[in-house]
Symmetry: C2
Subunit: 386 residues, 2 copies
DNA sequence: TGCCGTTAGTTCCATGTCGAAAGAAATCTT
DNA sequence: AAGATTTCTTTCGACATGGAACTAACGGCA
């Protein structure tokens, strides 16, 4: 627990670029890396040598992967030793802490959750410390901790404001560093998920990429040139003022007809409950809509149209190469995907590039994994700043 | 006319970065450039020397500009010799060719327009050649030509499709190069305007920047990281499928309630004409709205709301640091700017960064100037590719 | 089987860029 | 007039880079 790893510094910028390329884009031969980074073959020999000696990279057997029949000397792929470092990611919700351990490549190795019984900052930090200690037993090589919190996070270290925890200016990174001796990064949960998908998920290798999450609230993130665009409102919840349909429903949260009132799980449940008097779970509503029950079907249909409109607007104005729909509320796509697609088409120029839409139902461990990716980034890039 | 200037190559990447910084950001001292480009003072002495010797940069008297009282050796600002090169920009419309000559810094020096009496590609190229020859008499040092055309332009050289000229696959750059001996860049007019504003206008120095033009049609351009995002539909006209208000008017162009049917000059005139039976010019409609005439006021009000909604959506999803409203149809802002602002606020999170909105009424010479900037870019960057 | 073409990777060196440090220049302060 | 301060220049060592020549490992072909 005192393994304080000060990033894999010292790496020269060139070495770091090579390591990053291999980390994100899987096993690559030296000549392939040379092509991707526009470097000479000679430079690659030079840059990879210290990385191989330090054990961060290994030469892997060509074998399975590329079955192309080419002549000439076979290439020698290099790969990151993903297991050489482990990372912890936590997602804090009102009543639970979800934890994961991941490899360098952000594959989840272990899950470990515990109820959160207090919101006192020191007690929460204690609990995170204990959970880390527990995880460290099975994974001795922990290199860093990432923590995702809903709310405003500053400097990747301080929780400026979190309504559900009732925190203001809690120096969470510091508190957990004291207890674990590991470098800690704290970030807004949506931002963390976006970063994770950019490095290792749907947005890997893309220049422009957007993420829209639907769950208890709406989340949105835009990545340009491989970097997430920061924005002022990101930590206070999106979509309350995205008026999708001025004639839409009025719900407790969000303006009339806003994305929040049309799409979030609580709003959909509220609408069905208000219309039918029945308390139904989100899954029951989706099932009911699929089975043709009138009210669930109407609400789900309206939500699907709203989602299609939103996706089209994002495509039209932000022009991402890909949009990822994530969160607990994207089950909507399975039931009403056709309506969404149709609405997107209606709001797009017929000659415009088709929207590349990817759907990924995510649970709380995916959010925790997103936080772990931040710790990976710190190690790789050598800085906690965004 | 045979001065074929093959860009200001040969410049090293470092020299080019310095030249570009001075070109775009005005007179700068060596130490200031060093700070901006994160280079050492020594490097700046080295990099500026050949630029000064070649006559591209000059040392200018400190004088007027910064009246700060500082001690120490006064700085020695360097400036581009903006007049050392001249550029021609053309904007081709259905019945006119608008021409300008600009300096290296894209200041318009001369305007020269001529009616377009034919759409035959060779005859049009002839006319452009004649106009260039005419302009070259007063400006011997022409270094390049930029041409802006409404329609699809490929490779910055070929007009793939232009409905109003009835062109398909016209190698316009080649035709004009043959006649003038100068390097020629052809680009979609909206794209050219966006590039111009990015380098020398409202978007100067910004990382994320959006342009929305309103005129005969709608134009949109997004600049990220200093580079314009290309998109498939840009050359076929935007906004026909941006449904802003599903209950909006139905006009000859655009889907019901689309940006085109709510905002373009022809659609606004159509709506007023359909409701009142009177043919009114755009200016008359704006004046009428300001004076309280019911129908013009209603149409203008609805347009203002649509514009506000669009701007808010662009802000919400593309997150630019600034949005420029340009074109012949932004007179709307003078009459109904308050409604626009109000609508933007209604569609934005109260804590979100305020939208930085700039309005610039532009005429056809501004479009021609945009085209000239492309020629400047080619000279400076040494490539015609986007 | 052995030669050749091809591609991958290595070694070595010339080149060019960079930053650090020290010095020169130009101005203001005291 | 001396010192402080900032700008700019010069010099020099460090170092990343690309290119050339070379070795390595494979398939194709006679």
């Amino acid at each position: 627990m005192t393994t304080r790893t000060a990033s894999w510094l010292p790496l020269s910028p060139g070495e770091r670029a090579v390591a990053l390329e291999v980390l994100v884009h899987g096993p690559l031969s030296r000549s392939e890396i040379a092509r991707r980074l526009s470097l000479s073959a000679g430079s690659l020999t030079r840059l990879t040598k210290p990385l191989l000696e330090s054990g961060l990279l290994v030469e892997v057997p060509e074998g399975a992967a590329l079955a192309e029949v080419r002549q000439g000397r076979p290439s020698q792929p290099l790969d990151i030793v993903a297991e050489s470092r482990s990372f912890v990611g936590f997602k804090i919700t009102e009543d639970m802490v979800y934890g994961v351990v991941t490899t360098l490549r952000s594959e989840i190795v272990t899950r470990y959750d515990r109820p959160l019984t207090t919101h006192d900052p020191d007690r929460v930090a204690d609990q995170l410390g204990e959970m880390t200690a527990e995880l460290a037993r099975a994974h001795p090589g922990l290199a860093g901790i990432g923590i995702g919190v809903g709310g405003l996070v500053q400097e990747r270290a301080v929780v400026g404001e979190s309504p559900f925890l009732e925190w203001r200016d809690v120096r969470l990174a510091e508190l957990v560093e004291e207890r674990t001796g590991l470098p800690v990064v704290v970030e807004n949960d949506v931002s963390a998920l976006v970063e994770a998908e950019t490095w290792f998920g749907a947005g890997r290798g893309l220049d422009r990429f957007a993420v829209l999450t639907i769950g208890a609230g709406i989340g949105y993130g835009l990545v340009l040139g491989g970097t997430r665009v920061p924005c002022a409102e990101e930590d206070r919840g999106f979509g309350r003022h995205w008026i999708v349909n001025p004639n839409g429903p009025l719900t407790p949260e969000g303006a009339r007809g806003s994305a929040v009132s049309l799409l979030t799980i609580p709003s959909i449940r509220y609408q069905v409950q208000a219309a039918t008097g029945r308390e139904m779970t989100y899954e029951e509503i989706l099932a009911g809509a699929a089975a043709g029950e009138p009210m669930p079907a109407r609400v789900v249909d309206e939500a699907a149209r709203a989602l299609g409109t939103l996706v089209a607007q994002i495509s039209n104005f932000a022009m991402p190469q890909k949009i990822l729909l994530a969160g607990e509320g994207v089950g909507l796509m399975e039931v009403a995907g056709a309506t969404v697609e149709e609405t997107i088409r209606a709001h797009r120029h017929p000659l415009a590039a088709p929207v590349h839409l990817e759907t990924k139902v995510s649970d709380f461990h995916d959010w925790a994994r997103g936080a772990a990716v931040l710790a990976i980034q710190v190690l790789v890039l050598g800085t906690a700043k965004a």
